[in-house]
Symmetry: D2
Subunit: 479 residues, 4 copies
C-alpha cells in the first residue's frame, strides 16, 4: 500500500444549502438566514439568499460569513414566502468573481429560476462543452449553472422527466435546490454523495444539507432525500419521485468523519456517536502506554471521548482553543504561528505525560507537526498521534479541491515514515477495514475513494480525469 | 401643442464605456481606470473592468464610483493587454443585483466574451422572449445580455455577418464594446443614438464614449464610429465595416445639451460651443429688462457665457456650488434642502437685481422652483428662467428611465402655466425650431423626440411601447 | 445566609496590560501586539499601544478587538524600543468616548507620560474631587487618569517616593504600567487584587497581566510583581522597591475561577490545576446518581475534567461551541437565542441521561436557565447544575460593573429556590469553605468578598460606597 | 523687496466653529450638524459635536468630513439643548491622534467644560511650559487645551474677570467657544484675527465662524463679536463684555481673499464683493492685450467677474471643474495629474486665445505652473497669470502651517523671475497698496503680515519665533 500521500489536502470545502416554504405565506428570509448560520461550518467564503413572493423575486448575496453578508434591514427587504439559501467554500472557480456567489438565478422561458448546489460534477467539462456547443453561455464557473441549462434543454414533458434526464447525464456529487417561480424542487444524486434532508412543522417546509438546520427551524422529525430522488413542493403539497437508479450508493464517509456538525444525523448515522465509536475502535488497537488522552479541539473531541472511555485513561484538555483568532494579518506567511495563536497548550495538564493526541483525520500534516512541537516544548514526555480515520492517499473527485497532481505527488510520504515526518513518538490511525466495520453492512453504501484510491467508474467523468493528468486512479471492476 | 409635461424626468441615466488595446503588450487596467474616471459623469452607480491577456481574463466590478470600486492593488491584479470598462447609471433593471454590473462576461463556444453597453433597446421584451423561447436564460436585467446571445445564435459566417444580422434584429440605441478572447469589437447602432469614438497613439488603441476619454489617454486625434459601423481590432489591425443602413440618423441631441462633458466633441459638434450658441440664440429672443445673467452651476455655465455676450449684460455668479455635498443622510426626504446644501446664493451679487437665470434644460422642475425661491429670499427683484433647450414633452425610449406613463401624465403642465408653477417672473426656452437651426442641415441627423413627441417608427419596438400603455406617441410617416 | 443574589452580574470586565522594552533597541510594537492578542480574553472593547523611541512617541488606539484595531502598516509606524499596551472592557465610564481608550498619554513637566491600568479604585470620587479642586481636569472617565495627576502633584523627591505617596492615597485594585519618557514603571496595589508578572529574555524585558503573555513573548521564567511593589526599568537596569504595606493581601479569587487564561499561573497558582481541583472537590460532595459529566464549554472544561475523574463518571460533550458566533444582529433582544446560536446540544450524547452539568460559576443565571431548557428539549433525563465556585452574593467593588443596587436587590434569590428558578433537578456549588480549603494557608491572601459580603475596610473608599447607596456591606473588624 | 518667496504655502488650514442654544429646550445636534456642513470649507480633517442637556453631556467626534463622521442615529443620541461643534484642519499637532479632535471636553471643578477653537496662539510654548510647571498635563497638541487650564487657574472672581486675565496672557489668533455646563461663552482675540458672529431667531441663539452658518440656521440678522469681547449666553440672556483692548486690530485679510465662503460677510466686508473688486482693480492695471478672461474655478470666479467687467473683455470658462475628484489613490505621487483630473480644459473656449487667467492668490505655484502647461497644450496663444492679491512673502504666525523656515527659504523666488518659473507670458498681482486701498480706512484694522513681512509685536510670542529659528521677521515699531 505504498507510496502514500497523506499530507496533501486542505479539506475545508463544501457548501451548505437550505430551502424553505412558509405554509402561511410569511416571509422566509429570517428562517433562511438562521439556517445558513447553522450551516456556516460548511463554507465561510460567500453567502446568499433568493426569495420569491407576490412582488417577484428578491436577492442578496456577498462575500464573507453569513452574519457579515446580511443585516436586519437587508433581511426585511427579502420578502417572499419561498426561498433558498447557500453558503459556500469554492471547490473550484474564481473565488473573486461575484458571478460565482450562489444561489445563481436567472430568468428563462420557465420564468424565474434559482439554484443552490452542494457537490462537484465529474463530467463538468464535457457537459459544459456540449452546452456551449448548443449556444449556451456560462456566466459563472460554478457547476451549478450546468443544471439550469440541462433543465431547459431537457425534452422531458414535466419536471419529473426533466430531472430524470438530467440524472442520466450528470456524473458526480450533487445535492441540489431549484426554485422555479413558486415551486421548490430538491434532488440528490443517485449515489447520494452529499446529504440532504427535509421536514416540516405547522408553519414551514424546510429542506437542508443537515438535520441541524432543520432543528434550528424547530423541525425535529426529518426524512432523508433518498439518492436519486426528486422532491417537488408546490402549493401545499409535497411529491417525491425516484428518478435515478444506480448499482451502488457512494455516500461520502468524510461527512461523518469531519465535515458535518456533530449534532447532525447524516446518512442515518449520528455524527457524534460515529466519531465517538471511531475513537473507541482506535483505543482497542492501542499498544503503547498512555497517561492521558487529549483531543485536538474541537474536531477531535468526540473521538477522544470514545477513546478515553474505551482505554480507561483520563481525558485531559492540554490544548485549549483561543476564541480570538479570526483573520489576523500576521497569519499568512507563518502557518506555525497560526497554530500557536489558535491553540493554547496547558503545561500543567501535559507536563511529563505520555499523551495520546486524538485528531479526526490526517490531512496536510503541517498542523499535526506543529502541535507535536508545541507539546514537546511544554514538557510532554511522549506524543502519540492518533487519527480517528484512515490516511488519505488519493484525490477526491467529488468536492475536495486538489490543486494539481504534482502537488499531490510531491507531498507523498510513506506511512512508515510518518512518525519521523511528524516527529511523533508513534502514529496510529483507524484502518479502512475498521472504519468499514463500524458502518457494518451499510459500509457498502459509502465512498472511501480518498482512503483507497479505488473509484466507482459510474461516478467518474472524463472532465475530472483531465484535471488529474498523470494520475491514474485505480478504477476497478469489482468496486 | 398642449397639454405638455415638461416636469417629469430625472435625466441622469446613461453609461460610459471604454475599450483599450496595448500595442506593446502592456497592461491596460490603469488606462481603463483613468478613462472611466473621465467618463464618471455618465454614471456613478457601478463600475467594472474586464481584461484579457496571457493568463486568461481578469475582472473586478462593484457598486459605487470608479474611485471607490477600484484600488491600486486591484488594478495591479487586472493584468492583460486588452480590456473593456463600464460605468453605469441603470436605465432599467434592479439596481441592487450584482449581476447587472457591467461589463457582463461569459464563457461560450466562442471562448471568453465580455460586453459593455451604452443605450437602451426598444424591442428588448420581444428579443428576450424569443431568446428565452430558444432556451436562453437571463442572468441580468440589463439589455446588454441580449447582444451576447444574438451573437451566439447568429448564423453569420463571421463576426461581420453576425453583427449585420444583429443590427437587423435590434431596435433602439446602442453603442457597444465586445471583447471576444483577444479581439475587440465595437459597434454603434445604425441611427447613431449614442456617441462612440476611437483613436490611437503609438502605444494604445482606444475606443470610448467621448473624446474626453481619448484625450485623457493622450490621444488627441479621433474618429467617430459611424452609425451602423462595426470595428474589429485584432492583432495590430483595425478593420471597419458598415453593416447597418437606415434612412435617417437619430443622434441624441440631449448628449449635446446635457449629458456629455463640455470638453468633448460629440457627433462632430463641440459641446461647449454648442451650449454657448444655445445661450446666444436664447439671448436674441430676450424681451425683458435684465440686470445680470446668472448660470445654474455648472451645467448652465456655457449657455450663460453665450447669453451674456449676446445680450451685453454682465455675468454674475449669484449661485455658487458647494463642494461638500455627496450623499448626506439628511437628503432623501427633503429635496429642497438638498438644493440649499448644494447651491450657495450670493446675496451681494443678486440683491435687487433682475436676473436671467440660465439652465441647460427644463426637466423635473422641482429644482428650478426651489432655486427661484432661494433667489427671492435673497433679495432678487425679478427672476427670469431661461432654458437653453426646448421643454421636454414626451418620453425618451432610448435611454431615459420614465417609470410609468401615469407619472408622466400627472406631472403634465401647460407651458403657459409654467411661470406660475415655477413662481418665476417669466420663463423662456429655446424653441425646437431654433435648436434645429443651430445644427443647420445636420439637424436632420438628430433625434428630437423628447421635445416633439414624434418618433421614427424604425426605432421603436413593441416592447418599449408596452411599457407605456396608454401613451400614444405620434409616429409620423413623414419623420 | 439569606437573602442572596446570585444572579446579578455579567462578569466580563477587567483589562489586560503589557509593557515591553527591547534591550537591543528594536521596535516593540509587534511584541506588544501579540501580547495583547494573548490577553484578549481580558477585554474586547478597545485596544491601544503607545511606544516611545528616538523619534518621540507613537500611538494608535481604537474600539474593537486587537486584530481589528491594528494592521501591519500601523504596527510599522509605531516605532520605538519601549512601549505599553492595553486591552479593555470598561468597568465604568462612557464606552463611546474615545478619550477613554487606554493607554492614556499626556505631555507634562515630566515629559511624555503614558499609563495603562487594570483595576478599579474605590475612592475614585474622593480623589477626583480633590484633584479637581486643585485645578486638574479630567479628559476621561477612566480611573487611570487619577494616577497621572497624583504622580504630578506628589511631593516625593523621586519616583519611588512618589509612588509610595500614591499608594497611601489610593484605595482599591490596580495593576499599573507607567511610561515616562524612556523609563518603564510598573506597580501593583498593596493588596495585590490583580495579577502582574514580569520576566526577561536576551532580547526583551516584559511585564504583563498574565504569564501567558510572557510565554507568547518567549519568556518562560517569570516573577510576580509583589503587592505594594514598584518596578523601574531604565536603561538596562531593573530595580524593585516595596512601597506599600498592608495587613492582609486581597488577591482576587475570581481571577483563578474565571478571568485568567487556563495556561497562566496567577498568584502562584496554576489556573488549570486550580479549576480542575475545584471540580474534584465538587465531585466529592455529589449525592445524586449521575450518568455523564458535561462541561459548559469552554470555561467549564477544566473543572469537568477533575469532576469526572473524581467521580469516576464519563465525560461527555453534549454541548459543543459554535465557532461562528460573534456579533450577530439578531442577538440583542433575545438572549436565549444567543445561547442557542452559541451552544450546540448533541442529542446523541445526552438523551436519556442524568447529567452533571459543570460550569465555572453562577453569575446571572439566565444562561444557565436557558441551557437547562435546551438540554431538556434534547432529551436529558435529569439536569444537575454544578458550579465550581460559591454563589455570588455581594457586589465586587474592585473591578466588576454592578449598575445599581436596585438591580442587585431585584435579582436576589434565596439559594434554596435556585433549583426552581433555574429549572434544574438539583443545584450544587462549591462552598466557600471548600474553596478556601483548596487554597490552604494561602487562602488568607485572597479576597472572597463577592462570595461573603465581607469587605476589608482598608480597601473600600467612600466613593464606591456612594455608588451603592442602600447597600450596607458588612465590613468586619475581624476580616 | 527681494528675495521673495511666493511659492511656499498650502493655505488650507483653519477651522470652523459653531455654538447653539435652543430657547425652547429642543435638541441642537441637527442644527450644529448642518452648520458644520456649511463651514466644511474651513476644514475637512475631523469633526465633532458636544451637547449638554438634562441627561448630562453627549459627544461624538471622528476623522473625516462632517457627513462621514455623523449619521442620523448618532445625531439622535446627541441630545441636549445646548452644544458646540468644530470642523478642523490641523495647523499643528499630530493629526492621527484622536485626542486632537475638537471640541475638547473635560470634567473639572467647574463641572463639565468643552472648548472649540479657531486660530493659533503664538506664545503656546511659553504658556504650555508654564502650565506644565504648575502640574498641568496636556492630552492633546491642540492649543485649545491651553484655554481650559488658563480658565481654571485664573484668579478672577467670575468668568468675565477670568477671560480678561486670559486675554492678557495669550498672544495670537483665537475665536473661541466655551461650554461650561449649560452656559455658552464665546470670545474673540483683541486683535480680531479670526471672524466670529452671532445672532438669534425665535428658536435659537447661534454663534459661528461665518454668517453663512447663521443663515443656514435661518438667522439673517447677525452681529459681529468685537475683538476683545466675551459673550455669555446663560438661561435666556445674552451678555457681552469687552475685556481685551489693543492698539490696533489685526483682522486676517486672507479670510477675505480665500478662506471664507463667498456668501459670508466677514469683518463687515461682503466677501463676494471684495473679491470682485480685487478683480476690478487688477483689471485697471492691465497692460497686455487680452482676448478672454478665465477664472481658475471656483475660487477665482468672483475676481474674474470683476476683472471681466472692468476690462470689458468676455468671461469664458476654459477650465471647468470635475465633480468627481475626491481622494483617488493615483493622486499622491503625481500632483500634476491631480490638477489634470480636477480641471477640465475646454479647447474650444481657449484655442488661439490670449488669456487672462484669474486666481485668488499665489501660494505654492505648482498648481499655477501646471495649469499654464495644460492651457498651452490646448492651444492657448498667451497665458497671463493674474492674482487677485499680493504675493505671499513671509510666514503667517496666526494659523497657517509652515513646516520649516528652510523650506520657506528654499522655495524663495524673486518676483521678476516668476514668469519664467511659472512659464507664463506675464504675471501680475494686486499690489499691497491697492489691496489696502480697497479696504480704505478700514485697512488699518487688518493684518497683512504674510504680504509685508512686518508683524505687530504685540501679537508675536517667543514660542512661535522659536519655530522659525533663522527667520527674522521685521517687527517694526511703526506698525
Amino acid at each position: 500500500m505504498e507510496p502514500l500521500n497523506p499530507l496533501f489536502l486542505e479539506m475545508r470545502e463544501f457548501c451548505g444549502i437550505v430551502g424553505a416554504v412558509s405554509k402561511k405565506g410569511k416571509d422566509v428570509s429570517e428562517l433562511l438566514y438562521k439556517s445558513l448560520f447553522t450551516l456556516q461550518h460548511r463554507g465561510q467564503e460567500s453567502a446568499g439568499i433568493v426569495t420569491f413572493g407576490e412582488s417577484g423575486f428578491n436577492t442578496h448575496r456577498g462575500f464573507g460569513q453569513v452574519k457579515d453578508v446580511f443585516s436586519k434591514d437587508i433581511l426585511k427587504e427579502l420578502t417572499g414566502h419561498i426561498g433558498i439559501g447557500h453558503t459556500r467554500y469554492s471547490t473550484f472557480g474564481d473565488y473573486r468573481n461575484v458571478n460565482n456567489i450562489q444561489p445563481l438565478f436567472v430568468s428563462s422561458r420557465e420564468g424565474f429560476m434559482a439554484v443552490a448546489h452542494n457537490g462537484t460534477l465529474t463530467n463538468y467539462d464535457e457537459l459544459r462543452a456540449e452546452l456551449e456547443e448548443n449556444g449556451y453561455v456560462f456566466h459563472s464557473s460554478t457547476d451549478s449553472e450546468i443544471f439550469l441549462y440541462l433543465f431547459l434543454i431537457s425534452e422531458g414533458n414535466n419536471p419529473e422527466e426533466k430531472f430524470k434526464e438530467i440524472m442520466k447525464k450528470v456524473k458526480g456529487a450533487y445535492s441540489l435546490l431549484f426554485l422555479i417561480n413558486d415551486r421548490l424542487y430538491f434532488l440528490r444524486d443517485p449515489w447520494g454523495f452529499r446529504p440532504l434532508v427535509f421536514g416540516e412543522s405547522e408553519d414551514y417546509f424546510v429542506v437542508a444539507s443537515e438535520t441541524a438546520a432543520l432543528k434550528q427551524a424547530g423541525i425535529n422529525v426529518y426524512e432523508e432525500v433518498q439518492p436519486g430522488d426528486v422532491g417537488i413542493y408546490e402549493g401545499h403539497n409535497l411529491k417525491i419521485f425516484n428518478v435515478g437508479k444506480v448499482l451502488k450508493k457512494e455516500q461520502c464517509v468524510f461527512e461523518l468523519i469531519y465535515f458535518s456538525r456533530p449534532d447532525s444525523i447524516i446518512f442515518g448515522e449520528n455524527v457524534y456517536r460515529f466519531r465517538k465509536e471511531c475513537g473507541e475502535r482506535l483505543a482497542m488497537r492501542e499498544k503503547r502506554e498512555i497517561d492521558i488522552v487529549m483531543p485536538v479541539p474541537d474536531s477531535g473531541i468526540p473521538a477522544s471521548v470514545g477513546y478515553s472511555k474505551a482505554l480507561g485513561k483520563p481525558l485531559e484538555f492540554g490544548l485549549m482553543r483561543s476564541h480570538f483568532t479570526g483573520r489576523s494579518f500576521i497569519e499568512p506567511s507563518e502557518r506555525d504561528k497560526k497554530v500557536r495563536m489558535k491553540l493554547i497548550p496547558i503545561q500543567e495538564a501535559l507536563y511529563g505525560m505520555r499523551i495520546a493526541l486524538i485528531d479526526d483525520s490526517l490531512v496536510r500534516g503541517t498542523t499535526s507537526r506543529e502541535i507535536v512541537k508545541l507539546l514537546r516544548e511544554n514538557g510532554a514526555k511522549e506524543v502519540h498521534l492518533r487519527f480517528a480515520s484512515p490516511p488519505i492517499v488519493a484525490p477526491c473527485f467529488f468536492g475536495i479541491d486538489i490543486p494539481t497532481v504534482e502537488e499531490l505527488m510531491a507531498s507523498s510520504v510513506k506511512l512508515r515514515d510518518l512518525e519521523e515526518v511528524l516527529d511523533a513518538d508513534s502514529v496510529q490511525y483507524l484502518p479502512l477495514k475498521v472504519l468499514k466495520d463500524i458502518l457494518g453492512q451499510r459500509s457498502e453504501e459509502f465512498c472511501f475513494s480518498c482512503f483507497s484510491g479505488l473509484y466507482n467508474p459510474e461516478t467518474v467523468g472524463e472532465g475530472i480525469l483531465s484535471r488529474f493528468k498523470g494520475y491514474h486512479p485505480r478504477i476497478l471492476d469489482e468496486v
